[in-house]
Symmetry: C3
Subunit: 141 residues, 3 copies
């Protein structure tokens, strides 16, 4: 048991909410495990307002912040599960993925849910990253 | 291929339903993979009735039962994906996480879905655990 | 970082759509990570039509195609997260799992979502596989 160290990740700009009953990010071996990330700001309002693209981009930035706090890079993110409240706006998710990941695209699953934790949230992203992965230096097979 | 043994986990109190087309829990290396867990009882009714908190607690106990059958402990659970049918009741999920995990909180993703496999189920939890992890003995970073 | 190679998987019969902002499948160490798979055909219509069972079977075949392109086998698939648009039809999902996996059943989570990326899609599956796993040669514990 001793040789697989689990670490809690503290990103100063992304503290857990007071009274939170979850951890934002844990490192399990080389794997970075995260809680679902939303664009909810410190003032309780969604960063990006009613733009699904902008909320998604804000979330991607937060995910990268957590991944960097763990010692990884943007390219360490290898999978996304994206929960949106209006699938008809999926082109905004595509636009955000293109703007953020450019060409080193993670795997990505996209479904429409009935609701998220606050009513003005249009999207939540569950991300998976690994410290030993960099999609910008990817072997092709 | 030979050195990563996959094992099916049998918890006597949590058998797969007759005719089940899934495995409740598999160990893949050190990782414990599980099917989504609900509070559906042997009599077909939800343990915890219409309390989302109590259904969630019953589920957490079941997850721990599976994890222990695999050789782990409560602190081996490092991530939860929680599907609820009424996100407005999310405080009940918080209460269950606090009561069960105390302070060694897994990562946790929470979304509202349209429905679960039986109408009286208020919540289903997809859990991730690792035999070499114990969040109660966690390195901080 | 150097010793955990990530590879993008190219299955000739399952190319990413033009302009796609995701990768269909990546291998991270021994783990095969995939995007959510649907039954959407090249003509834009769902393979399997309005049969949830047939759409699910078409998806399972696609997942196996990706897994084989990565070097695995059907039994390498150890977990499914199945998103359906009508949970009342869950027996069709059971029928597909039984027909495809026979007895070496992966873990499986099943929830009803509000919608999927195209209106005629009844199901999307997020699959997890590992090159060093074969559920058809499983240790019991």
């Amino acid at each position: 048991m001793a040789d697989l160290v689990a670490r809690r990740i503290h990103a100063p700009s992304l503290p857990e909410a007071p009274g939170a009953t979850w951890s934002n990010a844990l490192v399990i071996g080389d794997e970075i495990s995260m809680s679902g990330v939303t664009a909810r700001g410190a003032d309780g309002r969604a960063i990006g307002g009613d733009s699904l693209r902008d909320q998604t981009l804000a979330i991607f930035q937060r995910i990268e912040t957590l991944v960097r706090a763990a010692g990884g890079v943007r390219g360490s993110i290898y999978k996304l599960v994206i929960y949106v409240t209006d699938i008809a706006r999926k082109d905004e998710v595509n636009a955000a993925r293109r703007a953020f990941f450019a060409s080193a695209f993670p795997c990505s699953t996209l479904v429409e849910v009935k609701g998220l934790v606050f009513p003005d949230l249009l999207v939540e992203v569950d991300a998976f990253a690994n410290l030993r992965v960099n999609l910008n230096a990817l072997a092709e097979a």
